[in-house]
């Protein structure tokens, strides 16, 4: 269970997170939606301790991330996987080494085991025969899938997705969404997705939350969002220009 309590965060006098409260249920997929620049990525970075809140607490299984030291934090991070917006693959090493990277850093496996694991992880995301390619040689969708494979290779308890479908064509978006659903079923991880793709959210989410002006204004299942009374939620869901959201 991950709980964010009264999180406030400002960058150079601009308040990004304003008393944010949210909890993520174990082994469920939660999609946090919101407009670009509403602080979704900032929230995500708070969850893995890449950013520290100005005030408030981040609790991971009742452990406060701010109260532990760096070494303990790194131990904790081994239970996380994260898929960055552009994949964040290491562009100086090939796909195989990218996926094998967490294995090599944290587990002392024989080279044969590493190869076996990497090949199966890439197969899981529907890729094969690209192990020796460099990240720059792949398309955006492939890179994202490699990133998913890398995030899942240590079989983490929690996987965070930073805008997994952004910048992809609808078909590839669907592929990624299906990949998330299938891998979640397979690995039973807690999924946290931030996205502005409402259709994808309906499809993948067990719970949807909406972040607006640094706080959660609505949280519930897909049905609740489809029938929400909140004018902000309505405007976002329908994708209309007219409404209370200041453009």
């Amino acid at each position: 269970m991950i709980i964010l309590e009264n999180i406030n965060k400002s960058f150079k006098n601009v308040k990004v997170l304003n008393n944010l409260n949210i909890s993520f249920e174990d082994k469920k997929i939660t999609v946090v939606i919101g407009r670009s620049g509403e602080g979704k990525s900032v929230m995500l970075k708070h969850i893995v301790g890449l950013l520290k809140p100005d005030s408030g607490r981040v609790l991971f299984n009742d452990i406060d991330l701010n109260s532990i030291n760096k070494k303990e934090l790194n131990e904790l991070r081994k239970k996380f996987g994260m898929v960055f917006q552009d994949g964040a693959l290491f562009d100086s090493i090939n796909i195989f080494e990218n996926v094998a990277f967490p294995l090599r850093q944290h587990l002392k496996l024989s080279e044969g085991d590493v190869v076996k694991k990497v090949i199966s992880a890439l197969n899981d995301v529907g890729l094969s025969g690209i192990e020796s390619k460099m990240p720059a040689e792949l398309s955006g969708g492939m890179r994202k899938r490699v990133a998913v494979a890398r995030a899942l290779i240590l079989e983490p308890e929690t996987v965070l997705f930073d805008e997994p479908t952004t910048g992809l064509d609808p078909i590839m978006s669907d592929v990624i969404n299906n990949l998330i659903i299938s891998t979640q079923k397979h690995f039973k991880y807690t999924g946290i997705i931030i996205s502005h793709d409402i259709e994808g959210a309906y499809k993948t989410a067990d719970t949807i939350a909406m972040l607006y002006e640094g706080a959660i204004i609505e949280k519930g299942d897909a049905e609740k969002f489809k029938t929400s009374d909140n004018p902000v939620v309505r405007q976002f869901v329908t994708g209309s220009m007219i409404g209370p959201i200041v453009i």
């Binding site: 893995v48 760096k70 996987g81 994260m82 562009d91 850093q105």
Partner: protein
């Protein structure tokens, strides 16, 4: 009134910026040392960087040394000829190379070649979230990126400094013997006569410090990158400029302490 005060404000901001920068740098270096204690050293990356700073820089460093040595010999000749002490050209070249030019030129050339590369590499990783990815994968960026570079630089700089000095002295010898047509044996004999062990080792000690300075600043600047490719370019420039300034500054300080 405001008009005048604004200038003082600017000066104040500048001073604060410098202090802040220096403070961050020291904290950064401290973090690197902590990282060594915590995770030891990434040997794989260390060797990569040693190869990069060492052998791969051989030609540029060697060429620099060669030409500087040749020029030194030639210039020393013009001065020495006046008072008829051309036999002192050898020691002049050797002392200048081992004590001063070897370490400093090596450091500056390595800064230009490797420091810039470090800053831009880490800067690119930073803006494309690769550094974040590292952290999320529970890999300390200091351990993975900074420490290997700093240690490699610290170890290889004296080595490359030896290369520079040696090739420089050789260049001086070539000019002395073949271009100026003087007795080469005198050149060599006088070097052995006038150069002391401390000259060599203090020069190498300088090189160690220069290595630490250039790698620390370059990697630190890389981590400061933000705002896309332009940001990477900016920090790369800063890295090279700052490293060079700090190296020359440290050179003065070290010279006044060591010699």
């Amino acid at each position: 009134m405001d008009f005048i005060l604004r200038y003082f404000e600017k000066i104040g901001l500048f001073v604060l910026y410098i202090i802040n920068e220096l403070g961050s740098l020291i904290i950064y270096l401290w973090n690197c040392i902590l990282s060594i204690l915590r995770y030891s050293v990434n040997v794989n990356n260390l060797f990569d960087q040693m190869a990069f700073i060492g052998m791969d820089s051989f030609y540029i460093v060697g060429l620099t040394g060669l030409f500087v040595g040749m020029v030194l010999s030639l210039q020393a000749y013009y001065a020495a000829r006046i008072v008829g002490v051309t036999y002192m050209i050898g020691p002049t070249v050797a002392l200048a190379m081992t004590r001063e030019l070897g370490p400093v030129l090596t450091a500056l050339m390595i800064t230009a070649r490797c420091g810039s590369s470090m800053a831009s590499e880490i800067g690119t990783m930073k803006i494309s979230e690769q550094v974040d990815a590292l952290e999320v994968m529970a890999v300390d960026p200091f351990y993975f990126l900074s420490v290997p570079r700093i240690i490699a630089s610290m170890v290889m700089l004296p080595i490359m400094s030896i290369v520079t000095s040696l090739i420089g002295i050789f260049g001086g010898y070539v000019v002395y013997k073949f271009f100026l047509g003087l007795n080469g044996a005198v050149f060599v004999d006088m070097i052995y006569k006038y150069i002391k062990l401390s000259d060599i080792y203090n020069g190498l000690l300088k090189a160690v410090f220069f290595g630490i300075i250039l790698a620390t600043i370059s990697t630190f600047k890389g981590f400061e990158a933000s705002g896309g490719s332009k940001g990477v370019g900016r920090v790369t420039t800063q890295a090279v400029v700052l490293s060079s300034i700090y190296i020359l500054f440290a050179d003065y300080i070290l010279t006044s302490i060591l010699f």
